[in-house]
């Protein structure tokens, strides 16, 4: 037994020296104006990398575009970021590293890391945005520095229910429809269930929530459960590949004619259409970020930027503009702090973000407003439907709160 004598010294010192050296290199970029440091973590290699990669490219693309156009009041944005592979431990490491390097704001990614970091975020006073739209993050006491750009999952589910009620009536039916909510079995998937259930009960909708088990190759059993329940509509809240399997199963079971599918945002994108093929036709999507197939003015800047690099927004898909506009809202907050001539720190940035009212994203999202009592950017979105392999707009903005 050789006990516990070990070169922790060497290992930690190497990591430490490396990070200090890097911080020193990163700091003196030769810019005349001091850069604005924003930290970010991306999933480029983990389980959500299919959507995480275009989102990360959108964040980076906006920063590059903004810097090329003079930065924020002449100061460039310095995005310090790395891949974390959807591992919460790594997210924690990168977060503390970047906070130590003096980032004023942070762009996160998933529900797991955003929830795990929220108490640190509050203690460090770092305004934080992520691509997780879980309503838990809107609790102003537990998560005072989290801001949400997209429509929350709860609101998405309520909007889907609202649309289902209208659609049910306009088809000449009486009463209220029966709705099954099939969801990813995780905090991400389950977060809208209580709010959706409460809304359904208040409106006389028969509602059931069915989790999608992990590690199965088909969802025939879950569909049978929904069918037995007598569902007229199925709201799907998962990511694209299981959602594609689900609608393919529904098609092969002959359920697509009797049941309408409404996908919430993480399974309503170009990837879903590509994977589901024919089975995607007719599926409705509750999409807070307008897809490039329905061009709006807010797509032009990212599209032009991408075209200059030999790509296009159509190629990158809606998650690119999602990342782009998330960063744009953060930049707007920074601009307001600088315009007011205040010191750029987390508290001032939070106050500036809370002052944003009806920020126009060029139609990519409903206008975004924050206040000191709510960090929910908006509560409305438009519905889209897959027609001939493309997302086509089928409604105007529907709000979750009438």
């Amino acid at each position: 037994m050789s006990g516990i004598r070990k070169p922790i010294q060497t290992l930690l010192a190497v990591a430490l020296v490396a990070s200090l050296l890097l911080a020193a290199c990163g700091g003196g970029g030769g810019e005349s104006a001091e850069p604005i440091k924003i930290g970010a973590i991306h999933d480029l290699t983990g389980p959500t990398s299919d959507v995480g990669t275009p989102y990360a490219e959108g964040l980076k693309g906006y920063v590059a575009w903004r810097n090329e156009n003079g930065g924020i009041n002449g100061r460039p944005i310095e995005l310090i970021s790395a891949d974390y592979g959807y591992k919460v431990d790594v997210a924690e490491q990168l977060y503390t590293q970047y906070v130590q390097e003096g980032v004023v704001a942070f762009q996160g990614w998933g529900t797991g890391d955003t929830e795990a970091l929220r108490s640190r975020i509050a203690a460090d006073k770092i305004p934080f945005m992520s691509a997780s739209y879980s309503a838990n993050l809107l609790d102003m006491e537990a998560a005072p520095y989290n801001f949400m750009i997209g429509t929350s999952y709860s609101d998405q589910a309520i909007i889907a229910l609202r649309w289902a009620m209208d659609d049910w009536k306009s088809a000449g039916n009486d009463g209220a429809p029966k709705v099954a909510f099939i969801h990813h079995d995780s905090p991400f998937g389950k977060s809208p269930v209580p709010d959706a259930q409460a809304f359904a009960e208040a409106n006389g909708i028969a509602f059931t929530a069915i989790p999608m088990p992990k590690g199965v190759t088909d969802y025939v059993a879950e569909l049978a459960q929904a069918q037995q329940f007598g569902a007229n509509y199925i709201i799907v809240h998962t990511v694209s590949s299981p959602a594609a399997v689900l609608v393919k199963d529904a098609q092969s079971q002959g359920l697509k004619d009797s049941i309408k599918f409404i996908n919430l945002n993480w399974c309503a994108d170009e990837i879903f259409i590509e994977l589901a093929g024919d089975a995607a036709e007719g599926v409705v999507g509750a999409i807070p970020f307008t897809p490039p197939s329905s061009p709006v003015p807010g797509h032009e800047e990212p599209d032009n930027w991408l075209k200059a690099q030999g790509s296009s927004l159509t190629e990158k898909g809606l998650h690119y503009s999602q990342g782009w506009w998330t960063m744009a809202v953060m930049a707007e907050g920074v601009r307001r702090v600088l315009d007011a001539g205040e010191e750029l720190n987390g508290e001032n940035l939070r106050a500036a973000l809370e002052g944003i009212k009806d920020f126009d994203t060029g139609g990519v999202t409903a206008p975004i407003s924050f206040s000191s009592t709510s960090h929910k950017g908006n509560s409305a979105l438009r519905l889209f439907q897959v027609q001939n392999g493309q997302w086509v707009q089928i409604s105007d903005y529907i709000s979750a709160s009438p």
């Binding site: 004598r5 922790i8 290699t45 490491q93 797991g112 108490s119």
Partner: protein
């Protein structure tokens, strides 16, 4: 001039630290551990705390796998038991964090012993599958027993307070983690100088021979599961209190595999090996991330492929380590020490 360590008395054989160099090193190590947080950055402390928690978990697993020879793929599940027990007792019943941590260790020990029952009949790969079942059953229970665990939702744990001071800042929690890691190491090193520890090793080396010599296999195997799970539960409880939040996603089968990798790379049946493995598996990805950041600044073109190079390098380094030193990092450290101590007459 030495050429090796030789004992002339049983007493000398039982001594933990045999040479002056060993004694000096342990003093240096303790001094370093005590001084580190005063010089380290917050990032350094976060890494140190993650290494500390992983060390406790890896020592726990090593007691079972490395010392007793009972392979386990249930590590993630047992950590979940510890984390959820501690989290629920503190969040729902308002129990102080130190008390809930202790209860969590005891509950995990009990659960570990129950899932250890198949080990009496099963060995090797068959036991691996039985413990894999434990992993899956525990995670299934955690995600479906909603009344108690909150199901798949995140369980929020209040900040651990001690005399009105919030303990889970990186600096303060460092003392908790490394204090407990020190106790765990001390307990384990000494465990294998007792009748119980010797019985565990006898079971690992030849279970039938051990039985013939009077080792009660059933009792000692369950005891190994219980002691191992006690420390694994401790690691889980520390994660709950450190991070204020418990979700099942942190305790999947990946975690079980990661910890097995830690003890294999670090060195099976060794306390220092558990630490080496935990530090290696935590710090290597962090070092790779920092290295790739430096590369990104000098060669911006490879920005897009860096994450993949990083993943490939991680895998490659592990494979190379295993090829060139199958006995783990512990053996490399041993060889290095021997080289200098015995020079020029080592053989």
């Amino acid at each position: 001039m030495e050429s090796g360590i030789f004992h002339t008395t049983y007493r000398a054989d039982m001594v933990l630290r045999r040479t002056h160099a060993q004694k000096a090193r342990i003093v240096l190590l303790v001094a370093f551990v005590l001084a580190f947080p005063f010089f380290a950055s917050r990032y350094g402390l976060t890494l140190a705390n993650q290494v500390g928690i992983a060390t406790i978990g890896a020592i726990g697993l090593n007691i079972l796998v490395g010392y007793t020879g009972q392979i386990s793929l249930g590590q993630g599940g047992f950590m979940a038991v510890g984390a959820y027990t501690a989290g629920i007792l503190t969040a729902r019943l308002g129990m102080p964090w130190y008390a809930s941590t202790l209860v969590a260790c005891l509950v995990t020990a009990l659960v570990g012993a129950i899932f250890g029952i198949p080990s009496l009949r099963l060995k090797g790969l068959y036991l691996a599958i039985a413990t894999l079942a434990a992993q899956e059953i525990i995670i299934w229970v955690v995600t479906h027993w909603e009344v108690v665990t909150g199901g798949v939702d995140a369980l929020v744990v209040p900040n651990p307070m001690l005399f009105g001071v919030q303990m889970n800042t990186d600096f303060r929690f460092y003392w908790v983690v490394w204090g407990l890691a020190g106790l765990t190491a001390l307990f384990t090193v000494n465990l294998f100088r007792t009748r119980y520890g010797r019985a565990f090793i006898a079971i690992r080396d030849q279970d039938i021979a051990a039985q013939v010599m009077g080792v009660d296999l059933f009792r000692y195997k369950l005891l190994a599961f219980a002691i191992s799970s006690f420390f694994v539960g401790l690691a889980g409880a520390l994660i709950a209190h450190y991070r204020n939040i418990v979700t099942w996603e942190r305790f999947t089968i990946d975690v079980s595999v990661l910890y097995l990798a830690m003890i294999i790379i670090g060195g099976l049946g060794s306390v220092s090996g558990s630490f080496f493995g935990a530090a290696f598996m935590t710090l290597l990805p962090a070092a790779l991330t920092n290295m790739s950041r430096a590369l990104k600044n000098s060669i911006p073109v490879i920005d897009a492929v860096i994450p993949f190079i990083q993943q490939a390098t991680f895998g490659l380094v592990i494979i190379l380590f295993l090829i060139f030193e199958p006995e783990g990092l512990r053996k490399m450290w041993q060889d290095l020490k021997d080289y200098f101590r015995l020079w020029p007459f080592s053989y």
